[in-house]
């Protein structure tokens, strides 16, 4: 059942992975400011998908295996996404003159333009 790929295809996959690694290292040294993080993550995801599809034969395996691999993203999304609904929105609720109930630390007033700035500098932190 499982597909026997020629050696050449494995070597080309290895080649692409090496190229992607050099790109990500190069990208790390050029200063793209806030884009650095998404670019590095995107390259890592492509490398991971390449390994999953070719080295781990998911490309040729059953639909169920593909579904299981994809379902993992749902649960990671739950873990990261919902936890960050808390951490990113901690700065938004402003009560007059300071801290609100239960440790909701208020460091940025609602009117200040950089409202989400402190809470999420990863996206918008200006470089200098």
């Amino acid at each position: 059942m499982s597909h026997i790929a020629p050696v050449k295809s494995y070597v080309t996959v290895f080649g692409t992975l090496m190229v992607l690694t050099t790109i990500t290292v190069a990208a790390a040294f050029t200063n793209l400011g806030s884009l650095n993080f998404p670019v590095a993550l995107a390259i890592a995801i492509t490398k991971a998908t390449v390994v999953i599809l070719f080295f781990m034969h998911v490309k040729y395996s059953s639909k169920l295996t593909k579904f299981v691999v994809a379902s993992c993203l749902f649960f990671l999304a739950c873990l990261f996404g919902l936890t960050f609904t808390d951490y990113l929105s901690r700065g938004w609720f402003a009560s007059p003159r300071g801290t609100t109930m239960a440790g909701t630390q208020v460091t940025v007033g609602p009117d200040a333009p950089g409202a989400a700035e402190k809470a999420a500098p990863a996206e918008g932190g200006p470089e200098h």
Partner: protein, 326 residues
Amino acid sequence: MLSGIPLFPVQASTVAPDVDRLYFLIIAVTSFFAIATVIAVAIFAIKYRDDSGEKVGAQIHGSIPLELAWSVIPFIISMGIFVYATVVFFEIVRPPAETMEIYSTGKRWMWRFQHVDGKSEINELHVPKGRPVRVTFTSEDVLHSLYFPAFRVKADAIPGRYSSVWFEATETGEFHLFCAEYCGTKHSGMIGKVVVMEPSAYQAWLSGSDGQPLAVRGQQLFQQLACVTCHLDDNTGRGPSLAGLFGTTVELEGGAKATADDSYIRESILTPQMKIVDGYQRLMPTFQGQVNEEGVMGLIEFIKSKAATARPRPAAAQPTAAPARP
């Protein structure tokens, strides 16, 4: 009202009636569904009872409309409850504009309350009736939770951060005060009384205080810890002037902005390197360990009390500051 068997907690704050109304609404809705289902099960069990075990039930496989009915209707009801509960929640979370400030620190197995004018008490809190009071508190070691059942409010005390609860007492008398987050051996001993008094009686109780006001103690610390050497009021020192700082929005290094509230001042004292005011060097040492929680609260009160003198804009030439940011 401590005698006899209490079945329902006294409503001693403006929020309590709303919370109890929500409680009775959900009791009504849930008991309706519970009793209906239990009666249905009982009727079917008795009516269709068959002890031979050999009779066969009717061939019913289900009905889509019924299924939709009892999934959509409960969903709509629960959304209604959700909206009402959220309205009550934001009433609890958002304090009114003007509140009477009380500071507190939770430490393993005791609550220490610090009134602004200097009087401090342990495991006891005297508050006036009819005035919104806000207790801003933190913990010095593990998680605690300041809980007033009679006022229906609670908030966890998290070490390293400020939490706050607000209430407006409507009944005089003594009510319970608990620690609601497990904190070790004497977790059940970290309790006390909140005494609600008539405003006049409260003033009398307050005036009998021996300690000097918190702001005065803060000023002493301000001198003692040599804050005054850098933070000059006329903004010529190496640190930003603190006159009239409280509540304003501060320009930070790197363009971010922050409201100078109690959390900001506490963070600037204990971990100054986290936020640097625009145009100033990273000079301030951390005072972690040199000043305890009461000291920080004293300094905050002192900074609050510093009236806004004429504060020249930071853009003015600074002898030591880096070239002003564009």
